[in-house]
Symmetry: C2
Subunit: 370 residues, 2 copies
């Protein structure tokens, strides 16, 4: 199922069979990616971007697709991630439905969609699949691996599994392990999908589709991606005008309700529900303490990377600032030149997508010193 992959997407076949961390293997799997800029003769100017749960590989406009990407303001000629200097790769996570193999893909063994027959997905698998792209492009060592949100987990796993595979690392609102509040939120999002009768144990189709569950999952996501502080200033108690208001005491009445509604409408049929479940659960399972004898700082200290910048914001309730401080602290304990930068963005977890004014100088400054 490639329908959600934007035009211009490129594909990299994974080594076959591709063994999954928690058991099982994929045959004939692939990951989608896009690139910007030119790889230097020594292949020493490559920057890999690993994404959050929902984005595709189209981080910014390029020759293959002139449409703006999800990090358009950050990536391009002369921008913070300057594509006149860096050869940038963005990989769509294994398990996603945006071109990479996932639960919505055809299982070659049966000729049918995997659905719940897809093996358990882990962040470690996502990282290894991204490494396959880097490898196929002839890059032995990245100049930098940048991971945002879930991608921050994938980037740490990349460095853990491929020691010295990257000189630098920027962790943007990421985490080295999932904590119970975030697990609870994601568990609830998954339950909303799984309780939708149209989910039907993963056997939905376009006619019988778990719209209701996906709506709740997305709206709950948006609630946790932003911050109460931002919404207080942005929406306050403003009501919809009478034309947009629903004539129902429980219908859309406040601007904030309409805002969530817009997000849900744009998402529900654009992301495969089963893929959502797999990617969501992979984050719960992620825990670098596993490689540190049960200790998260010890786990981080085993990673080999020269320089790291962990960026976080105090208003993030999903990947709270303490987690970026932990990343910097643990990597520093392992010998890296690692720092944490706390930005005063009001926008919560999503700040890296919108508060470009603060994030761009941080990212540009780090890359300039690499």
């Amino acid at each position: 199922m490639t329908e959600f992959a934007p035009p211009g997407t490129r594909y990299c076949a994974l080594p076959l069979p591709f063994a999954m961390k928690r058991g099982g293997a994929l045959h004939g799997a692939r990951v989608a990616y896009e690139t910007w800029g030119t790889l230097a003769p020594g292949a020493d100017n490559a920057v890999l971007i690993l994404t959050g749960l929902s984005p595709n590989a189209h981080a910014a406009s390029n020759d293959g697709n002139p449409e703006p990407g999800w990090w358009e303001a950050m990536l391009g000629p002369g921008k913070a991630i300057d594509t006149t200097r860096w050869f940038v790769i963005c990989v769509n996570s294994l398990g996603s439905c945006k071109g990479s193999t996932g639960a919505a893909s055809i299982d070659p063994a049966t000729g049918e969609q995997y659905r719940l027959a897809f093996p358990d997905l882990s962040i470690e698998d996502v990282a290894r699949a991204a490494h396959a792209v880097v490898d196929a492009l002839g890059i032995e060592r990245l100049a930098c691996v940048i991971g945002c949100s879930m991608g921050g987990m994938s980037a740490l796993s990349y460095i853990q599994q491929f020691p010295h595979g990257a000189r630098g690392h920027i962790n943007v609102s990421g985490a080295a392990q999932a904590l119970p509040f975030s697990i609870a939120i994601r568990s609830l999002q998954r339950e909303a999908i799984r309780l939708d009768p149209h989910w039907n144990l993963g056997r939905y189709d376009e006619t019988h589709y778990p719209d209701a569950g996906m709506r709740i999952a997305r709206k709950l996501g948006v609630v946790t991606y932003r911050s109460a502080l931002e919404w207080h200033g942005r929406f306050g108690r403003v009501r919809l005008d009478s034309e947009r208001r629903e004539d129902d005491p429980f219908g859309l009445e406040f601007e904030v309700e309409s805002y969530l509604e817009g997000h849900a409408r744009r998402f529900v049929r654009q992301f495969d529900p089963n893929c959502y479940l797999y990617l969501s659960r992979s984050m719960d399972w992620f825990d670098l303490a596993e490689v540190g004898g049960g200790d998260i700082l010890a786990g981080l200290a085993t990673l080999r990377v020269e320089r790291t910048l962990a960026i976080g914001v105090a208003t993030d309730i999903l990947f709270p600032l303490q987690q970026q401080e932990q990343i910097a602290g643990g990597l520093a304990a392992g010998g890296a030149d690692a720092h944490c930068l706390a930005l005063p963005s009001p926008q919560g977890h999503d700040a890296f997508l919108v508060d470009i004014e603060r994030f761009a100088p941080a990212v540009a400054g780090f890359l300039a010193r690499l």
Copy 2:
């Protein structure tokens, strides 16, 4: 429908017709309440407790019902709300299903349950219904009105509608208006119920009941009632043992998931879904700025009460500490001796139910000086 009212519940008929703020009127309506202690001859020792969304009037054990109540540790002989000194009344909110008239009650005009024919419920109606109980008990002026969570809104409305109706006021994790983050959370809880096919526009029965929607609503509630900090220390990443774990990659695996599951199971069939919708929406609509020409502090400053203590905790994401600071500031601007007490409880919005060690001395100290 009185099935959810505990034994020993007393009832007070509301004046008929009981006009509702947003239109419509109730005929033959009543509110449930319980009392503790003895009313002094001058009727000057009465303390009224107004509750959050879900509790009944059984705040503590008493002659009518020896079972522990929802604030058992706070209320009784020698406790913070000392029933040897105070005559305490706890009222079940109008619109609830715990004995008071609400959407689950029989509409005398039709002989059928109101369901969605129940008129719009507002916090102001809840406060006026509570006042009817106080009035029927022969109390002209309360010594203190204590409101927790939603009850903090109801208590402010009580004071607003009945100037000098209370000498003192303790606002526990309450708010003078709903802010967009809380509106968003409640909107999502209501949507989960309304999207459940078994909700059926409010026409469910015991066989076809919106269990799924109520589960999501309750779990989301619990997530926002507690705090990430508390859960980090309490659950960490602890897994269920193999006997309790579900054999499904998306099933119950982490302790925090099992904790939410327990809360959902205990709630789903114990609270009427339509009543939940009405009470939930009443909080969104509440805004004391309405009586302040659009300004919330001006609205609060119109209230007439001698002394006030607003208590909040920094880990509360649903009724954040700034809202209790606002209550104290606005009431002080109106001439009250009003203070805000920020407690370092890690338990978030629910702290007043569990962190008795911190809340009891605060409440006892205020009442002692009344």
